[in-house]
Amino acid sequence: MQQLEIKNLRVAIGENEIIRDLSLSVGLGEMHAVMGPNGSGKSTLAKVIAGHPDYKVTSGEVLMDGENLFELEPDERARKGLFLAFQYPSEVPGVTIANFLRAAMQSRLPEGEELEATDYYAKLYEKMDLLEIDRSFTSRAVNEGFSGGEKKRCEILQMAMLDPRYAVLDETDSGLDIDALKVVANGVNSLRGPNLGVLLITHYQRLLNYIVPDFVHVMVQGRIVRSGGKELALELEEKGYDLIRDHAEEPVAA
């Protein structure tokens, strides 16, 4: 039961069905990459798992360690161990990263319990060192005026601090040059371990040179059309999505 399990999920915005009967399981300790062309529904999948209010789940369910996420508010899902690294993280003007993370960690404590400031900063500095982030970074307001690389690094820092059980990384590589990509990949790799399941959503194979997945899934038009090991990413790189798209309209072989 220690898995993030997506079962026969269907999602629509208005009349438009975006995810069509998608099933996928991410076990604790596993790294799954979901690859697909633009418009295949990858980001929708990420947001639906996290509980974004704009999407309508028409059928199916997502279970986290057996618990139905659709019965929980977005913040409850987060506190139970779900993390989403956003493709486009929001700015929170005037609120420093340090204060934001502190509030986030405080929200995970039982009522009446106060986060110990010294422990908090010790952990914060440890994670910042791990991710090679300058100490002055966390006194800046969350994502305000950040470059693309800084935004992604801020997401990974938050992930490191919040110790999720399952993390969904939505296009964490988009907008990054190769150096920034390496830093972010190193960060994710350093968090890998038996107590973290990751769903890595990406358009490009290049991220997978740095974060090597255990499993690769190809998503086209709202469903998984192929699954395999890490070599599938290379095949995709070679042949392109077109080859796979040709098969997409056929029923997936049982």
């Binding site: 996290a50 509980g51 974004h52 209010p53 508010e73 977005p74 913040d75 899902r77 987060a78 506190r79 993390f83 989403l84 956003f86 993280p89 929001s90 700015e91 929170v92 003007p93 005037g94 609120v95 204060n99 934001f100 993370l101 509030a103 986030a104 960690m105 929200s107 995970r108 307001a141 938050q158 919040l162």
Partner: protein, 469 residues
Amino acid sequence: MKTDTSAVNIDRDKGDFHYKVDYGYDAGVGLDERVVKYISDVKHDPDWVREFRLKALQTFESKPLPTHWASKDLEAIDFNKIRYYLAQGQRATRSWEEVPEDVKRTFERLGIPEQERKFLAGVEAQFDSEAVYSNIKKAVGEQGVIFVGSTEGLKEYPEIFRRWFGKVIPTGDNKFSALNSAVFSGGSFIYVPPGVKVKHPLQAYFRINAENFGQFERTLIICDEGSELTYMEGCTAPKFNTATLHSAVVELIALKGAKLQYITVQNWSPNVFNLVTKRGLAHEESEIKWIDCNIGSRLTMKYPGVVLKGRKSRGEVLSIALANNGQHQDTGAKMIHAADETTSNIISKSISIGTGRATYRGLVHVPKHLKNCKNNTECDALLINSTSRTDTYPAISVRGTGNSVQHEASVSQVSAEQIFYMQQRGLSEAQAMSLSVNGFVNDLVRQFPMEYSVELKRLIELEMEGSVG
């Protein structure tokens, strides 16, 4: 100043209670000459004050409500249904022991005696019409600092009081300053002698306890040459179903080189009409700073101002207004430049929640003959819901060539994406909202004394919790 900030308790629920009190003095309901004379009689006013009050009553009656520019909601005030004077007695005690038990427990519940012990140089506590307690620390008193109620001030220190009283805000300034001038009672009279720097703040706490009541305190603060003072006021009232009126007049005088800071954190219940006139007169090289936090009330109209009368004087208004459901915060600032090389700074932040409405009105006046005057105005509004409203009415008249003004305004909205982002990190919707609001006011609140900045943040959290979900 190291203090336990949890002592400054001004949260909404904490203020929403009232005990039954026996009033020995009651001017009855409604306003006419008889009521004004009653107030003069029980206070044993000198003749000049009696005349001042009666003339003010005429001015009040002759002036229309300012509904041609202000909210029509003012028409909901029924001046004939308000009680203008309620007190147990006229003399404030110097010790909490002597404060009658039924009144003392109110202030104890509000935490006032505790704060006094912890970090204040002096406290005045007003209950409905009169101060029941007024005291300053011995060391401060020995420096010659005077801190008493207005009634005591005009009697004991007439030579200082009369010289400045009504000079910064004349009776006829507006309808409500006239009303206050007719029926004023309570408020603080403070005089700081030349060169005396009062290290810790003096605080007044204004408490409305009675229903259908009007509180009309009158505060006059004079900082003599080179002196320094921080004064703080807090206000609460219980929630009643009927309208309560609070209409104060506050006059500040900073003589040459003095520094005077006046801090207000008001947390009125949503039935209070809060119509207050506040103005300072800054002499040469002096500085007057208003820090004004308006939370609660049904309608607040308040535009603290500084008349920059002396060369190189400086005026500042830092204000935060939070308009929750059904509330209207109509606030702003006035800066009247009347000498060369004067500078003024206005920073206003407003937050509108639900159907709340925040209005900013600013007046900056620099006449043609002046040189090297500067004004900076920033007003930022944050809208929480699509039903929230904000308006800005800046009036800047700057003549002459050697003067500069800078005006910036912004309106922003907490977006659904931002809230979702914060929720994904584990914050509830209300926590996310309140953190966003705190972020919005953060750079301004940082300039406040620590006791108030912490408390203000907590107060904002409470407001947000009550308004979301």
